[in-house]
Symmetry: C2
Subunit: 645 residues, 2 copies
């Protein structure tokens, strides 16, 4: 009947309800048989969750599904929090969260209704967070897992609790230095409680690990660090179970290199269906299109049906819901990343010493055309931000103009000391962070870059800029390349934005000076980036209608505000509202405060809106509303400010 | 005559003048013989520089002296800047700078008079900086060297320059994850130009590497990463030369594990004179006492004389200067680190879940008594700050109260993302950074923590505090342990301070509220920490004498200032001067600005003094003067503020 399910999902999404998982968990089969069927059922639900959310990581959820299922159902005596003294299990890579959630729900360890709420604000975050039951640590930032597990084991030993701690890692993740840093003391302290399983699915974000930054002889490396190393087929439950049993009494920390297939369980998603030199794997992140979804469902349900029939069980009863269309953006929505790509190509054409460095996000950072056009000037660094940034420093010393790319959340904090070290050399390095700000809200706080400006503060000559629309990208990059005395940081929103304003025809990037997009004379709103500038302009329309004359100023200079220009622009206004797509400490509002300290505007009431606590995961509008940066919040605060006398 | 020199230095310091180095470099001996004598001569001058400066790293300068000397004199075709196309050489560990400087001066590549100016403001910085001739990259922050070298090689290849790049690393340095992170792409890109020499002197900052965080089978580890590995006696010039020759044409990146002796060349400084379980090696950093100096000079000069006599040369002519007494601090000088040690022991006595983590700075962070008293609650993490901080996160999840220690410069930036990740879990971790602020000025900018507050900004619930005197340490630690809702950062000045004020008898730590130390009603100075609060009080005395009534407020709450308390404390003053022992962006001044935004003081003129550019290396008073934070600077700015109408 599987294939029929596949046919049936035209326009619908399908999932397996909880009762069916209970049946399978109690079926009179061997442990390995039960887990294999259970894992495949979880695949369908993970796929459902991702399709419904419109985003999520299929490939890695699928490759690790047998590992999750065996560990959770059979291998471990599981605890829900680290202080209970039971075994502990978590994923260090974290983007396999949909798969993990599916397993937890199938076991009844997580409220089943959450299957409908991946990446929704009252649901399940895009990456694991301890506020979800049974999630014991926050991941999504790579390479921290073994260190955290070691801390849990030390806490267990101190409290005289004896329990295993199992960490699932990715293989791309092994490019992070912290992974290797964390191996050493585990050996020295003989942390036999620690088991690391590497989901060695051979692919990282963009493509094959070996094409990004080849790991070499992984077995030899790990063994050289003094760990007990085993290797097995990580998608074969029986083999995995035997491997774990074999190493159980070993007195050293243990690592299993689990050879898995990325996208396991759907023929055209499996990495083994690709040529080994393929540029891009399509199912790392993002939802499948309708056709792929339908075909994938057909394959998975076929296999489940066949397995259960073989075992003499009753076929699964599926539930269906109508697939809701993704919220449409207007055709005029602007995309800053393609604008950056184009601007970068232009600068690279003019500057033969311009080199682009990437940390395994070539698609997201818009670098594919650069690599095609200037392959000799493109350096793929892998998931190794510290190495990338110090390499950029060396390139700059060697006369190149390096531009280092990653997501803002990683680029500004993982290599924080390396960026400062480069700056002390007074060379010129450009850092370009995408995925900046509180939205997209889906991935959760590990990916929401809302402290990037703060964490790069206090670096001499470092100028931080953020374009508010596609048209502002090229002039700001041009300034960074051709005008800046030292290094700079370009902060880019990654999601398409509906922009309700336009820069003036004669726009020029002048350091410290912004653009008055809406004129008014009571409340002034100073902000940055397309999301908040757009919301400010929308709020200003409402305010003006309500009789509150509102000025909106976009300030692309995040840490070098020209106080005398701003004081002049604010002249006559009685109130200033600054907006941070960032924590309120350390962002643009602080820079505005510094600028006005030197050039005070007499009698100006000042207030700010921005992020004040760890932002939630959710849809973009849910998250903007939750952190108090929606149009309504802005209008309300501006109204309150206008009313203060 | 060597021993006679040793006798002669009673009360004096001795060095070898440049002409003697020229003679040896031109002597009719074999290359290896010349270099061996040259290296020993450099030992004497490095010792002179450190003794004269009153600080510096003897052990590592001595262990690497033959490596530096052979590389610079014989092996490489040296360039002075990376864009010349010549061979490049630098030390990644950087604290061997006195040795490196001695070699450069002995070769005539650095003005010889600088031999008298180690750690002076117009002289040679404590760690290498590119503004010194022949220094090609800034180091002192560990683990970045190979990454930087790879960047230089990529720049060379792009510009079609063919040159070797040699990086000297420490062995403790190998505990940093970036070292392992940086190995991978060197193999993948077949960077045959790259030669890494590990100065494997077996000791790191505090004691034996194997006791801190054992490296295990280093040869196997490096070979597993795909590098060509050789091992040799790094203090034997001939063996080193042969090893380099053997691997010259290898098409892969190369690493030499150079077995060396820490403190090589002075019997009682050589690590081989210690028991292998000794707790502390005494000659990692700091100047030798007069007796040790005299004995060391005797040994070195004896050996030089004997070697030259053997070779048939003329003995060396030495130069002497009178040893200046170290500037004395009054007996009443306060030390915050011992105060912290005592406070920590008290808290640990009350809280059986309190765990202290250290990153190879157990002496500097004051943790030795803690380790002795609570050995089961002390975790030595090695030079692995990312691992330490994520371990602290795991400990907190497991119910412990972890306190992570390092120098502020490293603790707040190397594991920046890890600290944020911990904070998103809403656990409680206390971070204690010592060596905070712009002084001591000797070590240079890699160690001057003047952006720590900024780089930890925008972390929810993270409260940052800094005691202004020994008496304020315990109440602030008590607050962090017993009152704080979330995590905290304690910022500690490490140098002894002459404190011209006292806290009130009834002092209590109340979040957001400071202490009025000097009352006045025209200019208010708000500041933090013992150095600047001391200078502010001294400036206030001058100002009051000059008729400018000055108030001084110490504000130990670096990022949570209570605006209404402050506004009240400032009432009546016409001007506010804030002082940052930190860059002016992102420090206390910004926090004061945020607080007063909500609670404005009408008509208050505001100004700030703080660090605005990369601070120089120099004596403490030189550096405070250079960055504009001396008593005179403070008094002058306050005077100017008082005069504005």
């Amino acid at each position: 009947m599987g294939d029929q399910i596949g046919q049936a999902v035209d326009g619908k999404l399908v999932y397996i309800p909880f009762a069916e998982f209970e049946k399978v968990r109690k079926a009179p089969w061997s442990r390995e048989q039960r887990v294999a069927v259970f894992a495949d059922m979880c695949r369908l639900n993970a796929l459902y969750m991702i399709a419904r959310a419109g985003s999520g990581h299929i490939g890695s959820s699928f490759s690790s599904m047998e590992i999750f299922s065996w560990m959770m159902l059979e291998e471990l005596e599981l605890g829900t929090i680290p202080t209970e003294g039971n075994d502990l299990f978590f994923s260090s890579k974290g983007h396999d969260a949909p798969g993990y959630y599916a397993v937890l729900m199938g076991m009844g360890r997580l409220e089943f209704d959450l299957v409908h709420k991946l990446r929704k604000i009252d649901g399940l975050p895009g990456h694991p967070d301890v506020h979800t039951p049974n999630i014991i640590t926050n991941t999504g930032s790579l390479g921290m897992g073994i260190s955290k597990a070691k801390g849990m084991i030390h806490a267990n030993r101190l409290a005289e609790r004896d329990a295993r701690v199992v960490v699932l890692t990715g293989d791309g993740e092994l490019q992070e230095g912290q992974f290797w840093e964390s191996l050493v003391s585990a050996t020295n302290h003989k942390l036999h409680e620690l088991i690391v399983v590497i989901d060695h699915n051979k692919l990282q974000s963009d493509t094959f690990v070996k094409n990004v930054s080849d790991l070499g002889d992984l077995d030899a490396k790990l063994a050289a660090f003094g760990w007990r190393v085993e290797r097995c087929d990580g998608n074969d439950v029986a083999v995995l179970a035997q491997t774990l049993a074999d190493m159980k009494d070993d007195p050293y920390p243990k690592v299993i290199i689990a050879d898995t297939v990325k996208g396991k369980g759907v023929s055209f998603m499996e990495h083994t269906s690709l040529d080994s030199d393929v540029d891009m794997y399509r199912f790392h992140s993002g939802a499948p299109d309708a056709n792929s979804y339908q075909k994938a469902v057909g394959e998975i349900t076929d296999r489940i049906s066949a397995a259960i029939a073989d075992l003499g069980g009753d076929d699964i009863a599926y539930d269906f819901i109508v697939r809701e269309p993704a919220p449409a953006l207007p055709e005029t929505a602007q995309k800053l990343i393609p604008a950056y790509t184009e601007a970068l190509l232009q600068q690279a054409g003019k500057h033969p010493n311009l080199v682009a460095l990437d940390a395994d996000l070539i698609l997201d950072t818009g670098l594919i055309p650069f690599r095609e056009t200037f392959p000799e000037r493109f350096i793929e660094c892998g998931i190794a931000e510290q190495d990338m940034v110090s390499m950029a420093g060396g390139l700059a010393l060697g006369g190149a103009l390096p531009i280092a790319h990653s997501f803002s959340c990683f680029l500004t904090s993982r290599p924080n000391e390396q960026i400062y070290n480069n700056a002390t050399e007074k060379t010129k390095v450009i850092y370009v962070g995408s995925l900046a700000g509180v939205v997209p809200g889906g991935p959760g706080h590990s990916h929401q870059a809302v402290r990037d400006i703060a964490s790069l503060s206090g670096i001499p000559d470092m100028v931080m800029v953020e374009p508010c629309c596609a048209a502002e990208v090229a002039p700001l990059l041009d300034w960074c390349v051709n005008e800046a005395k030292g290094s700079s940081y370009i902060r880019l929103t990654s999601i398409p934005c509906d922009i309700p304003f336009a820069l003036p025809e004669d726009y020029e990037a002048v350091q410290g000076q912004g653009t008055v997009l809406v004129d008014g004379d009571t409340v002034a709103i100073v902000t940055h980036g397309p999301i908040l500038t757009g919301n400010a302009v929308r709020a200003a329309e409402q305010l003006t209608e309500a009789g509150i004359s509102t000025k909106v100023i976009n300030m692309p200079w995040l840490n070098t505000v020209d106080g005398s220009w701003l004081a002049q622009a604010l002249a006559g206004c009685t109130a200033l509202l600054t907006l941070d797509n960032h924590y309120m400490d350390g962002g643009l509002s602080d820079a505005v405060g510094r600028a006005l300290e030197c050039d005070p505007v007499v009698g100006l009431k000042v207030s700010r809106l921005g992020v004040s606590d760890v932002p939630p995961s959710g849809t973009n509008s849910e998250v903007l509303d939750a952190v108090g940066l929606s149009v309504e919040h802005i209008a309300a605060r501006a109204t309150a400010l206008a009313e203060v006398r």
